[in-house]
Structures are given as structure tokens and as C-alpha cells.
Amino acid sequence: MPDLSRRTEDHGAFARVAFLGGIYSNYLALTEALRVARARGVDAIYALGDFGAFGPHPDRTLQILREARVPAIQGNYEESLSTDADDCHCGYTDPRDNHFAQLSYDYTRRRTSTEHKAWMGTLPGHVRLTVAGRRVLLCHGSPRKINEFLWESTTPAPFIRKLLRDAEADVVVCTHTGLHWSRFIEAGRGVVNAGVLGRPANDGRTNVWLTVIEDHSGDLAVEHVPVDYDHERLACEMQEEGLPEEFVETVLTGYWTTCLEILPAKERTRGRH
């Protein structure tokens, strides 16, 4: 730990950094997120993997990310697409969760260009940064596993202590679950889940989320930032592409309709389904 089979890059020190979790082909939210992050005066923006899935026209997201030269790490989607795997390796166990995950993956795999897939294979698995003197490790799921789900209600403080010790980091920044949260076991030491741009946070609101960490007078501060975008347009495009009505409903209502069984008790109760 961290998973040594994945390449790690060291990118040096920053004062204020924005993190984009899973984009899931939501290129409309990505465009807004880049605008919101830049308006906050960040000196770096990082994408944490899972650029495709769920949404329409995966190449549009990839083109925006690459043109904006957003540094990125691999998620399980990039790992699967760049190696031409048959499934996304999202890590679901329930048959209904897996059914919808496979629909997403098959669509995204079919509609992503070979050139973009090759680019995904060049991305590192982890990036290390320094913010406010703290060692920050970026990963997709967790430092030890690309598809580990770190949920707020099942990532307890004693486990975080071990995770940080093993990863030789003060702060781990991750995504993969779809829900943003952060837990600090002491000042400047904890886990930050950046949330995702790809779909809303199962709270009945249609916005999505990015996360900013910054040096706040020598202390490390975290802010989860809502991002509004034209979700009705996204819903229309998803319908035009023949993506499942269940996905469209999530975009329009803010409540998850699929990939629900993986949710822990607390997170599940907050949603409608």
C-alpha cells in the first residue's frame, strides 16, 4: 500500500487546487466546473478518473479535458477502456447494479475513440501534491484499490489512520462513490471524497459537485462546491442517445435510481429509491 502496480507522479506544491471526481460523460457540467474552479483562482485542476459512463457522447468530455490540459489520473473506467476489458470493474455485487453498469460501459466503450482510449493508458494511477505543507495523495477509489468505495458512513476514523499511515500521506483525495464528503482525524489529516460531476448527489438537487482544497493561512481547508449546469439539456441528449430512462430520471430529479444496492444504510436512507 499504496498499490505499487500503479504509476505515481509527484507534481509539487500548490496553494489552491480543484478536484473533479467522476465526470461520467457529463461534458456540460465539466464546462461549468472548469469555469467555477477558475473563478476561484485555483492554481491547478485535477481530474480523478471515470471520465465516461452514464452520460452521452463520451468523446466530448475527453476533448474538453484534453484541450484544457487538465492533469488526470486513471479511474477504473480508464483502466478498463485502455485495456479493452469487457466490463468497467466498478466493484458492484448486486445483479441490478451490475446490469446498469454494463449498459453504461458498453455504450461508453462503443462511443469512445481509439485515440482517447490510448491516451487513458498513459495516465498515472496516483499523483502526489503538497498543499499547506501536507502530503496529499490523489487516487480514484482508495490508495490501495482503484475500485474501493470510500463512503462517509463506512470509512471510520481508525481505518483512515491506517490508510494514511500505509499510503505515507496526510490527506487522501478520492472519488468513485459518487457522493462528496470529508473526514479529518486531526488537523490536516484525513480523507476527502471529491464527489462527482457525472450525476447529482442523491439528495433531490440537480446540481453536481467539485471540491477545492487550499492553504488557508498555513492550514489545509476543504470546500465542497456545488456546480449548476443545464441538466435538462443533458437529459434530452441522453434520451436521444437511447440511454436508460432510469439514468435520465436521476439527472432530472437529483435522486439515484440505479447502482443503489452498493449504498451503505445511512447513504441509502437519504435518497428516494
Binding site: T154, P156, P158, P264, A265, T269
Partner: protein, 288 residues
């Protein structure tokens, strides 16, 4: 030439189980792989004082989640206090038949769940959507009593995970799952959660169906690292009144007892038991 057993390394102790009610149960299901019953004292009930040293050790080791099972955990007079102690350290799941859960207990559990930053899951076992399917396996009249427990939890706002085994006919087919989910909605669970468990041909189940056949074994096999790491024993241990066992399944086998403390049990385990075949072939995890 004798065949050797492949090894399962302990990658990380993420999941810690407690046989908190021993092998004592108010029911006597015909498929129970550890033959729990009102009179089976193979493993005894654990008190809060018995559990606490392991929780302290688990906290230091960075355990991620806690599971309590039996037997029937709600036979244990200190179960709510034990859940509270574990919930201070991480998420908790309790495996129960639900029969003994009264509205007062459900209300206390709800209060604990609300007060903790971590999830509390109750997991209730039932074997079918009607008494005709369930009762021959779990006992005469148990269907209605289990259902009452599910309703009490639902009323308290604790949405249980409902577990059925493959002994429940059709549980594996998508039509069977849809039928069970519709049944659970009808019982009052607005977000029904269902888990289907494979059968383990151990304990009482050997009399209901059959024991493992000689070919159902991992002996002589070589496992790739990712295969070994997919097994639940690569990330769990089970504490009973007799000590630390490798997993929740093998507690009837003296050779599966690894140590008296968790730290001593963090070593590889030889997969020499037929049940290891079920875990490997069917991807069985006792976790929710």
C-alpha cells in the same frame, strides 16, 4: 502424493466478525451450517467485557467494519451495549432472524444509528415470500414471526437487508428476485434490499441436502494473487468465545482457530476445507 492447500494471505484486517451469541439460537433452521439451536453450546455467548479487548485491538489495527452474528444476537442480553461500543469505532452489521426484536429494541437501535456517523445495518434472514416456503426450513410458524420483526424495524425507520439462501426456490433467477422484492415492498420496505447467500454444505445442511463431495475442494490448486485476494478470508477474522477463527464459516473446525488475539491471527491461512471451495467458486462473501 498428498495434495497441498493453497494459501490465503491476510491482505488487511478490514472486517471483524463476532460470534456474539455463540451457537445459541431461538430457531433451529435445517440449513444452518453451524447447527445453531437453543441447546448448542459449541461456542458460548460473549459479554461486552469479552468483546471489548478485541474492539480495542481492532481500533489500533484500523479495522473498517464490524459484524455481529450467532446463533441469534438478540438472545444476548448485552447486544445493544455491544453494538453501541462497536458503532463508536466503525460501521456495524447485525445478522438476526428478527424474531426477538421488540419495538423498544428497535427504537434504541434507531437512536444509536442516528447518533453515530457510521452506518448500522440489521440483516434479517427469511427463506421465501410465504410460510409454505420458509417454515419447512426455518421452523413452523417462523415466517409470521420473522415478518413481524421486519415490520418493527421498518416502522422504526431501520431499513433491514433481507437475506435469503439458495434453499429458497427461485431466489437466483431474476423473476425470483423480482417476486421477493415485490413481497418486501408489500411488507412496508420502501427501499427493499435483498442478498442471496449460497448454501454451505456443513452442519445441519448436510442432513437437509448433502455434504461436500470429494471433488469440491481447493486442495492441489494454485490461486492467482487476485483470486486469493477476492476471498473474504483475505480481509476478515472471526472472534468467538473460543478465540480468533479465520472466517465466519469455519468455526466448527478446530484447525480454523488461528490465535487468542487478533494480532496473532494476521497470517496466511491454508484453504484445506471443502467450504473454501464454495467461497472460491461462488464468490461467496458473508458481508452485506
Amino acid at each position: 502424493m498428498s495434495l497441498s492447500a493453497p494459501l490465503s494471505p491476510l491482505v488487511a484486517l478490514d472486517t471483524l466478525w463476532f460470534q456474539v451469541a455463540g451457537t445459541l439460537c431461538n430457531l433451529q433452521c435445517t440449513h444452518c451450517f453451524i447447527s445453531s439451536s437453543p441447546t448448542n453450546h459449541s461456542h458460548e455467548m460473549m459479554s461486552l467485557a469479552d468483546v471489548r479487548p478485541y474492539l480495542e485491538e481492532a481500533e489500533a489495527l484500523g479495522v473498517k467494519e464490524y459484524y455481529f452474528t450467532g446463533g441469534e444476537p438478540f438472545l444476548n442480553r448485552e447486544i445493544v451495549e455491544i453494538i453501541e461500543a462497536a458503532l463508536a469505532l466503525g460501521p456495524v452489521s447485525v445478522l438476526t432472524n428478527g424474531v426477538l426484536i421488540r419495538p423498544e429494541t428497535a427504537a434504541r437501535l434507531r437512536a444509536l444509528a442516528d447518533a453515530s456517523p457510521y452506518s448500522l445495518d440489521l440483516r434479517i434472514s427469511i427463506d421465501g415470500a410465504d410460510a409454505a416456503t420458509n417454515d419447512p426450513i426455518r421452523g413452523e410458524g417462523t415466517f409470521e414471526r420473522i415478518l413481524a420483526g421486519i415490520r418493527i424495524l421498518a416502522t422504526a425507520g431501520l431499513n433491514p437487508v433481507v437475506t435469503v439462501t439458495e434453499a429458497c426456490e427461485g431466489a437466483l433467477s431474476s423473476e425470483g428476485r423480482a417476486r421477493l422484492l415485490a413481497f418486501l415492498r408489500g411488507v412496508g420496505l420502501s427501499q427493499p434490499r435483498l442478498k442471496v447467500m449460497p448454501l454451505l454444505r456443513l452442519g445441519a445442511e448436510t442432513r437437509r441436502s448433502r455434504a461436500y463431495a470429494e471433488w469440491e475442494s481447493l486442495m492441489g490448486r494454485t490461486l492467482r494473487p487476485e483470486e486469493a485476494e477476492a476471498l473474504q478470508c483475505s480481509s476478515c477474522r472471526m472472534v468467538t468465545s473460543k478465540g480468533v477463527y479465520v472466517c465466519p464459516i469455519l468455526i466448527d473446525f478446530p484447525g480454523a482457530r488461528m490465535a487468542s488475539t487478533l494480532s496473532e491471527a494476521l497470517r496466511p491461512f491454508a484453504l484445506s476445507y471443502p467450504a473454501c471451495f464454495t467461497c472460491h467458486e461462488q464468490g461467496l462473501s458473508c458481508r452485506t
